[in-house]
C-alpha cells in the first residue's frame, strides 16, 4: 500500500522543484527533468528519455508541459499526470497572477506607468534576439534563399491581417507533411 501513494509524492516533489528552479524555458527544464527521472528515480533509461523527448518535439506545445505530463502519466496514470502538471504550473502561475494584478491595480500612478514603459524596449530586444536565432536555425535547415523567401512573403500577410495566422501555419505544416522529401536543395513550399 505504501508504494501506491508514494509515487504521487515523488511526482509532486520533482515537478515542484522543476517549476521553481526552471528559469529560461525548455532548454533549462530538460536537464532538470532528466536528472530526476533518469538519475535519481530511475523511472526511465537515458535512451527511453531521449526517445520520448524526440517524440515530444514532433508535437506542438510547450516541451516542459509535455514531458511533465508524460512522466506523471507513465508513473501514476491520470492522477499522476494531474499531480505533475499541477505542481509544475501552480507556483509560477500564482506568483505571476499576484505580481501582474498588483502592477495593474496601480497603473494610474505615473511612476508605475513609467515602469511599464521602461520595460517595453527590453521585451522588443528579447524578441528580436529570438527572431535572429530562428532565422539562423532556419538557414541551417533550409538554406538562406528559402528562409528569406518565406520570411519576406509572409510579413505582408500578417501586417495587413489578410488571414488568420493559424491558416498560414497550417499550410506550412501541410507542406512539411505532403511535399516530397528531397535531398538538401528541395522545392519551395507553397505559401
Amino acid at each position: 500500500m505504501r508504494a501506491y501513494y508514494r509515487v504521487y509524492l515523488d511526482l509532486l516533489w520533482i515537478f515542484l522543484k522543476v517549476g521553481v528552479l526552471g528559469f529560461g524555458g525548455g532548454p533549462a527544464y530538460i536537464p532538470l527533468i532528466q536528472r530526476e527521472v533518469v538519475t535519481n528515480y530511475r523511472w526511465m533509461t537515458d535512451g527511453e528519455f531521449s526517445s520520448v523527448l524526440a517524440f515530444a518535439n514532433t508535437l506542438p506545445g510547450p516541451i516542459s508541459i509535455k514531458m511533465a505530463g508524460f512522466v506523471g502519466w507513465k508513473e501514476g496514470g491520470c492522477p499522476g499526470l494531474v499531480m505533475a502538471l499541477l505542481f509544475l504550473i501552480s507556483p509560477s502561475s500564482l506568483a505571476m497572477l499576484l505580481l501582474f494584478s498588483t502592477f495593474s491595480a496601480y497603473k494610474d500612478i505615473p511612476w508605475v506607468q513609467g515602469m511599464g514603459r521602461g520595460v517595453i524596449p527590453v521585451v522588443a530586444v528579447m524578441l528580436g534576439i529570438l527572431v535572429k536565432g530562428f532565422l539562423k536555425n532556419s538557414t541551417v535547415d533550409m538554406g538562406l534563399l528559402r528562409t528569406t523567401g518565406i520570411f519576406v512573403l509572409v510579413i505582408p500577410v500578417f501586417l495587413f491581417s489578410l488571414v488568420h495566422p493559424a491558416i498560414v501555419i497550417v499550410l506550412f505544416i501541410l507542406a512539411a507533411l505532403l511535399l516530397p522529401v528531397q535531398s538538401r536543395r528541395g522545392k519551395e513550399p507553397s505559401t
Binding site: 504550473i89 520595460v119 528580436g128 512539411a176
Partner: protein, 176 residues
C-alpha cells in the same frame, strides 16, 4: 460566451505552436491583442516582461493571468486548461499509437517549416513595440534602453530577469 473565447484564444496557439514558447508568444498576442482586443500591445508587452522575471513555464504564466484579467478565477482555470490540454492529449494518445512518428522525416521537418513564419510574426511584434515606445517614451529612452539591454544580453550574457528589473527601476525613476 467569454469562456469559450478564452478557451479558443489559447487552444489555437496550443495546437499549431511548433517551436515551443517563442512560437506561442506571437500566436497568443494575435488572439489577445488583435482578434479579441482584450489588451493593448503595450499591456501584452508588460505581461511578457513580468512573466520573464519568474521561473516556470512561460505559457501557463501568460494564459493564467490573461484568463483572470478577462473572466476572473474561472477564466484563469479555462486559460490554463486550454493551453495545456491540446498538446497533452496528443502526447498521451499518439505516443501509444504512432511512436515511430519521431523518425519520420516529414514529421521531423515541421518545426523547420514553421520557424520562418513564426520569425516573421515575432519581427512584427518587435517593430510595433519600438514604434509604440518611440511614441510613448521618446527616442532617447527607447534607444538607450534597447541598446543597453542588447549589449547586456548578447555580449555579457546577463540573465533576462536582472535586465527587466533594472529597466523597471529605470522607468520608475526617469520615465514620465
Amino acid at each position: 460566451m467569454i469562456y469559450w473565447q478564452v478557451f479558443m484564444a489559447f487552444f489555437i496557439p496550443g495546437i499549431i505552436g511548433y517551436g515551443g514558447a517563442p512560437a506561442y508568444i506571437p500566436l497568443v498576442e494575435y488572439e489577445v491583442v488583435h482578434r479579441y482586443g482584450w489588451m493593448t500591445a503595450g499591456e501584452f508587452g508588460e505581461l511578457l516582461a513580468f512573466a520573464n522575471t519568474l521561473p516556470g513555464p512561460l505559457i501557463t504564466k501568460m494564459s493564467g493571468v490573461i484568463g483572470y484579467e478577462i473572466a476572473g478565477a474561472a477564466g484563469a482555470l479555462v486559460g490554463l486548461a486550454s493551453s495545456i490540454i491540446p498538446s497533452m492529449v496528443l502526447m498521451i494518445i499518439l505516443l501509444g499509437i504512432i511512436y515511430r512518428l519521431k523518425d519520420n522525416p516529414r514529421v521531423k521537418r515541421i518545426t523547420s517549416f514553421v520557424r520562418p513564419v513564426v520569425a516573421a510574426m515575432l519581427a512584427l511584434m518587435v517593430y510595433n513595440y519600438f514604434i509604440n515606445s518611440f511614441i510613448d517614451t521618446g527616442l532617447y529612452h527607447t534607444a538607450g534602453i534597447a541598446l543597453a539591454s542588447f549589449i547586456l544580453l548578447e555580449k555579457f550574457k546577463v540573465q533576462p530577469p536582472l535586465i527587466i528589473i533594472t529597466a523597471l527601476l529605470y522607468g520608475a525613476l526617469f520615465i514620465r
